[in-house]
Subunit: 213 residues, 2 copies
């Protein structure tokens, strides 16, 4: 199964090549200023081929989404039996951060990434859409586990909101020019605070710091 034949290998290579060429152009000149025809040209390929690999122009830039979706699904599915989703996800976020993973948001590269993203409403819109796909996936997995549709959707949407808040907090600070090392250090507390709120709620109930149950 590791062997895939020439055709499949060529396709993977072409896909990556197109994506790389496109990303390079986007970074240099901004998303909207680069046309698909231009990308095809620079990649030595026809416009149709570009769309063949990437249904929308936005997918040329946001092409890690599927991987992320699969990884998040694995986090939920493969967590120890009986462990609350929030606990597994909190741990995963800490791991991302510790590994200096791009998706932790606490990495130098987000500057370039974010400036391209913000350069285009279409790109922003698509990334929001991807966030929604994550929520839908989580809701599906959880509903499968518990059979409780409403509960699954509630948890999935709250969880997704938590993840994006954590990510955006880091990105915002790095964009603002904060020192990377400092942001990385602070993110540990950000993750914990976010998940504390998720687990204990926003209600004024008992003081947030402490749990009596």
């Amino acid at each position: 199964m590791a062997e895939q034949g020439l055709r499949e290998r060529k396709k993977q290579a072409t896909r990556r090549m197109i994506s790389d060429v496109a990303t390079g152009l986007f970074v240099r000149r901004g998303f909207d200023a680069v046309t698909v025809a231009e990308i095809a040209d620079a990649a030595g390929v026809s416009k149709m081929t570009v769309f063949n690999y990437f249904p929308r122009k936005e997918d040329l830039f946001l092409d890690r989404h599927d991987d992320r979706l699969r990884e998040l699904e694995a986090v939920v599915r493969d967590r120890p039996a009986g462990e609350p989703v929030a606990v597994a996800m909190r741990r995963y976020q800490h791991e991302l951060l510790a590994a200096r993973h791009p998706l932790s948001g606490a990495i130098e590269g987000v500057r370039g990434f974010w400036s391209v993203l913000e350069s285009s409403p279409a790109l922003v819109s698509r990334s929001i859409e991807q966030e929604h796909e994550i929520a839908a996936m989580l809701a599906g997995v959880l509903a499968e586990e518990t059979g409780d549709e409403l509960g699954a959707r509630l948890v999935a949407n709250l969880l997704t909101a938590t993840l994006t808040t954590i990510y955006h907090t880091s990105v915002a600070r790095i964009i603002a020019g904060d020192d990377l090392a400092r942001v990385q250090a602070d993110q540990v507390a950000v993750i914990d605070r976010a998940f504390d709120v998720l687990e204990q709620g926003i209600g004024p109930g008992r003081d947030r710091v402490h749990s009596d149950g």
Copy 2:
């Protein structure tokens, strides 16, 4: 200030007329099957004028967004001093439901609305974007109140996730063919459950089931 002059009144009328014509066409034939040129034609106006009032085609259908945004902002801003946002928002959701307001999601009309919405990815995408705008607005208002950026964003995003979950729950059931009266009755509990989760968190902490009062 009630008097607005002929020009302003005409603009309002034209705007509404275009929107009505467009909505009619969308309902009959689906969003993507109707071109803007066609709408302009049917409305007896030029294509440019349509875009003059509605920057994107999607706005022709989702034109209540600004009102909603303002109303939600008022709910937060005008709530009794010291009252938690979640409490004010919960009350507001119950009011929407009691008033059989379209935005409660528990109303016959959502069928047509939703079928048009689902008929177009662009429309779905735009509505998700609007949801994001709501979250951003709430985050802004809350940050203004407390000065706590991270806390504001956390609460705003969780709150928005709660609102959309409530709405979608109702819509999904009505689409599925459930009896309207029954859905409306059940929504009271849905709202309370959703806000209970929001206020008390998804953690395993205290038993989630209790407290129906």
